[in-house]
């Protein structure tokens, strides 16, 4: 991973590769940054924009097919602040995009750790809490997790490949991933 600021030569990069990021300084102390959704999913753009709404005025718009335009204006109005914030936004966007990818690949791990941590901290419900639960005849037999379902019923093929035909793998079954770069 490069240690250089993602804002370095942004305009030059946009000219060479219009598909990535283009940054334009506007005259009124605002900056406009266009992102390609192929590189930065909308969720990541949302996440990055949200991080800044306490410090900046942020506006999103479409700038062509699969391109999102983020207009950023510092609440102080100073142009220098705006440029720095634009750089920070791009860094945050990179983090958000990468985090989406990591989370998707490690969903099981995240859920396992979070469940253990929160379950361990909260402990089992007490009698008062159980009595306060609204369980009637209709809801008593709801099975949202499919616990009562047999394996065959849960994973039976539906005339071809299913979305979740394979049983859950244990960590030991996971294929070795490539050696990751150190930092």
């Amino acid at each position: 991973m490069s240690d250089s600021s993602p804002n370095d030569g942004a305009l030059d990069r946009a000219e060479r590769d219009p598909g990535s990021v283009a940054t334009t300084a506007l005259g009124d102390g605002a900056v406009q940054i266009d992102f390609d959704e192929a590189y930065y999913p909308k969720d990541a753009i949302y996440g990055a924009a949200y991080v800044f709404i306490d410090r900046c005025y942020v506006h999103l718009d479409r700038a062509g097919d699969r391109r999102v335009r983020v207009t950023l204006r510092s609440k102080t109005g100073a142009p220098l602040d705006t440029q720095a914030l634009a750089g920070e936004l791009q860094n945050e966007l990179l983090c958000q995009a990468w985090r989406l990818s990591i989370a998707a690949e490690n969903r099981q791990l995240i859920e396992s750790i979070a469940a253990r941590a929160l379950g361990g901290a909260a402990g089992p419900p007490g009698l008062d809490e159980l009595l306060a639960m609204d369980i009637d005849e209709a809801s008593a037999f709801e099975d949202p997790l499919g616990i009562a379902m047999s394996w065959e019923e849960k994973y039976k093929k539906k005339g071809g490949a299913t979305d979740d035909a394979a049983p859950e793998k244990s960590p030991a079954d996971e294929p070795a991933s490539d050696a990751e770069k150190g930092s």
Partner: protein, 81 residues
């Protein structure tokens, strides 16, 4: 008067509506739909806060609500982001 364009793929109608309702006491606001999104017109009230400020704050509010709504609808995996 200032016009703010909210693209329909980026701002849901409910979030825009909420933003308009929230800032109604501070400016004269009108909204209309057109192809691809909603346009909100911001006109300052006599002796009130200035239009650019109201417009900017309204925009932030709408974006915030749109993001929150989008996250509330996405699957659990995305809560890790």
């Amino acid at each position: 008067m200032i016009q703010i364009r909210f693209h329909e793929e980026l701002y849901d109608a409910l979030s825009i509506d909420e933003a308009v309702k929230t800032y109604e006491p501070y400016a004269k606001l009108t909204a209309h739909r057109e192809a691809g999104g909603t346009i909100v017109h911001v006109e300052a009230l006599e002796g009130g806060a200035d239009e650019p400020l109201i417009a900017a704050e309204l925009g932030n509010f709408a974006l915030g609500r749109a993001v929150e709504r989008s996250r509330a609808q996405t699957p659990t995996a995305k809560e890790g982001t």
